[in-house]
């Protein structure tokens, strides 16, 4: 309930109306809230909107492309479990390239402290607890880092609302977010475009520690599941420094499957294949 503190107390009764008005346009709010408060509210609302999905499974296909246009493929399966009051738990199992087939990564996400991660190596049948502090490293040689692929927990950033601007047929809010733990992030800041109706992310610009524009993520082909939850099918990450890009295609989304907490244990990790 951070938002309550964000508004002057005299507005307490008016708060529900303001929330309603905020959907009509942020201009009304500008008078009563700082850009930081608006930015936080957008992030919190987006996070709240996605609450209650329970769990889902999906597949990810990545096409890695270098400056010369050479391509390489990655294929993995993803299982995600929503955890009340904490970060999500996720299990990623690699199918391609074939030399890492069956390798699996279990993550117990946390809102405040560092995530817990275990890696399963099928050739040795070994489960290895690994450091989760390498959030800025490349994921499978792609232009995505672990940080880019994990859920951006609201608590891990501070925010600043910049402006509204058209994005395609929609109107987007443009907000900056800054990592709370500077060491845990590979970026000094990110600029996020979200549409005002459904709060879906359409674009993210990543700025490195020297504040150079490093990468741009564009997201498209949103589908709605369970009449509520929006999931994108296509994410394209372009690295402006190297000219490399990665296209991540999501498919086979299934919500509220039989997944349980136990599937996200170390024993469950050894069952991954």
């Amino acid at each position: 309930m951070r938002m309550k503190q964000a508004y002057p107390s005299a507005f307490g009764l008016l708060a529900p109306c303001l929330v309603l008005l905020s959907w009509l346009g942020t201009s009304l709010l500008v008078h009563s809230a700082t850009p930081e408060e608006i930015g936080l509210k957008i992030a919190t609302d987006a996070s709240d909107k996605d609450e209650g999905f329970g769990n889902f499974t999906a597949t990810q296909a990545m096409v890695l492309r270098n400056k010369q246009g050479q391509e390489s493929r990655r294929q993995l399966r993803v299982k995600v479990l929503e955890v009340n009051g904490d970060g999500d738990k996720s299990l990623m199992v690699f199918d391609e390239p074939r030399d890492v087939k069956g390798t699996a990564l279990l993550t117990h996400g946390h809102k405040q402290k560092a995530d817990d991660q275990w890696l399963y190596l099928p050739a040795l049948k070994r489960v290895k607890r690994i450091s989760s502090s390498n959030r800025s490293g490349s994921f499978m040689g792609s232009e995505f880092s672990y940080e880019d692929l994990s859920t951006p927990e609201v608590e891990k950033y501070t925010y600043r609302y910049l402006r509204d601007e058209p994005c395609g047929d929609l109107t987007c809010t443009v907000t900056e977010r800054f990592p709370v733990d500077k060491k845990a992030s590979g970026y000094s800041r990110q600029v996020v475009w979200r549409d005002k109706g459904e709060l879906r992310t359409w674009k993210v610009e990543y700025y490195d520690r020297k504040d150079a524009h490093l990468k741009t993520l564009t997201i498209g082909k949103y589908q709605q599941y369970l009449d509520k939850y929006w999931r994108a099918e296509e994410m394209t990450m372009v690295n402006h420094l190297t000219g490399k890009s990665t296209v991540l295609t999501w498919a086979d989304y299934q919500f509220r499957t039989k997944l349980k907490k136990r599937d996200f244990s170390k024993t469950g990790l050894k069952r991954a294949r």
Partner: protein, 457 residues
């Protein structure tokens, strides 16, 4: 393929296969939701720059291939059957040309209160531990030393493996009805100790021999940044005491390549502890174990000599020789850590530095778990450079040095993916120096270079 059948009887394999199939079929109206065939084929070559201890039989280079397919069948409720046969062909050593059933098990699981149960029946591989220089507490599976002297590869072990996971942690029980003897390179093979193993004779302390029911149990849990495991094993040792008995083995001992030894497996009990503390980029690791029951001839040379003489003139037999061995009780430990520097030298590469100290109470009498070191008072320093590129290029270096003797080795490995299915592995395993009193002295000339071209499907 001489002796292969004796090492893992076909009959036993058939029993496990039949049991597995029956278990799957026993579930009425089974519905297969998914099946998948994957695996690897690897072309391999090893080159030894120096001649070995038995140059009339051994060669300096060997070529071969490995086939290791994996069949996975899943039923609608998630139960599954996994089959991983393994075959290696080696041009120089007919014993290293070997096959194994790495995995052939049925997996069932379900809810149990707030937690879950899981049962695996069949041949499987299990890994315990956290350390990198050796796997001290890991005991369920026999080591496949034909594959690599580092002891990383293990043989499939027939087992009934029951797991109970709840909020308080994970408890595992292993029923191990059959013992897999350790396999050693044959006459044409390098990386063998001087003598050969008797193909037809494996001796056990237990009257039940290889069918002695062994048991193991393990409790493991994660407490925040701390992962901990407590384990125990009761049954047939995975390490053989090698018995020199007339007339096949002469008193010339370990340095004579023509001696044929008889492996003897004692009944042992082992308690193990493994723990890892994960703090930011630091991993702190600790493994310790207490073992009793193994037999060792060190320190009993005189008694053994007398029994040997008696046996040579027909006044004693195998049991008398074994009777002179000392029953050991000892502790061993590994302690160390790992630190990773991310995005080093302004690149995307990560550099991990490792250091571990190995201790074994038996000192020089310690039998090697990772050849050619005894790891009784030995330091391990390693480095792992992962380029995080599209080809997953990685370089690993491992340096071992005995703190009290002049034995030092260094190993360097290079891995790189060539395409989505082909990958390359190259390594050098070099013995820099060897103490003449070291139990591994006979292997001092076995530095080698190895090369794999692997196809994954």
């Amino acid at each position: 393929m001489r002796g292969c059948a004796a090492r893992y009887p076909l009959a036993l394999t058939a029993i496990w296969l039949a049991a597995s199939v029956l278990a799957v079929e026993a579930q009425a109206e089974i519905e297969f939701a998914a099946w998948e065939l994957s695996g690897r084929v690897s072309l391999e070559s090893r080159y030894f720059p120096r001649t070995g201890i038995d140059p009339s039989h051994q060669s300096s280079n060997t070529n071969g291939f490995v086939v290791e397919p994996k069949l996975y069948v899943e039923e609608a409720e998630g139960s599954s059957f996994t089959l991983v046969p393994f075959f290696r062909y080696d041009s120089a050593d007919s014993v290293r040309t070997h096959w194994d059933l790495r995995e052939a098990y049925v997996l069932l699981f379900g809810e149990l209160g707030e937690g879950e149960w899981e049962v695996r029946v069949g041949a499987d591989r299990v890994f315990w531990g956290v350390a990198e220089s050796q796997h001290l507490v890991d005991i369920v599976n026999q080591i496949d030393f034909l594959e690599h002297p580092n002891g990383e590869v293990t043989l499939g072990q027939p087992m009934m493996h029951v797991t109970w996971t709840a909020d308080w942690g994970t408890f595992e029980f292993f029923g191990l009805p059959y013992h897999r003897p350790r396999i050693y390179p044959g006459q044409g093979g390098r990386l063998r100790f001087a003598g050969l193993l008797d193909d037809d004779r494996v001796e056990y302390e237990s009257g039940a021999e290889e069918w002695h029911p062994d048991f193991a149990a393990r409790y493991s849990h994660s407490f925040g940044p701390l992962d901990i495991g407590l384990s125990m094993f009761n049954g047939t040792s995975r390490e053989a005491s090698l018995i020199c008995m007339p007339p096949a083995c002469q008193p010339t001992g370990v340095s004579d390549p023509s001696n044929v030894w008889i492996p003897y497996y004692a009944q042992i009990r082992q308690f193990g502890l493994d723990a890892q503390l994960t703090l930011d980029a630091w991993l702190f690791k600790f493994e310790a174990m207490h073992r009793s029951g193994d037999r060792n001839a060190f320190g009993r040379e005189q008694e053994y000599g007398k029994a040997y003489q008696a046996a040579a003139v027909g006044a004693g037999g195998f049991d008398d020789l074994v009777g002179t061995l000392r029953e050991e009780e000892y502790v061993a430990a590994v302690v160390g850590g790992e630190y990773t520097f991310y995005s080093v030298f302004g690149s995307t590469a990560d550099l991990g530095l490792l250091a571990e100290w190995n201790y074994d109470e038996r000192g020089r009498k310690a039998l090697p778990r990772r050849q050619p070191m005894t790891l009784d008072n030995d330091f391990f320093v390693g480095a792992h450079l992962a380029f995080n590129d599209v080809e997953s290029t990685e370089i690993t270096a491992a340096f071992f040095t005995d703190a009290s003797r002049a034995t030092r080795t260094v190993g360097v490995e290079f891995d790189r993916r060539l395409s989505d299915q082909w990958s390359l592995h190259a390594e050098s395993s070099l013995i820099l120096s060897m103490d003449p009193d070291d139990i591994q002295w006979v292997g001092r000339r076995d530095s080698f270079f190895e090369f794999h071209l692997e196809y994954n499907f």
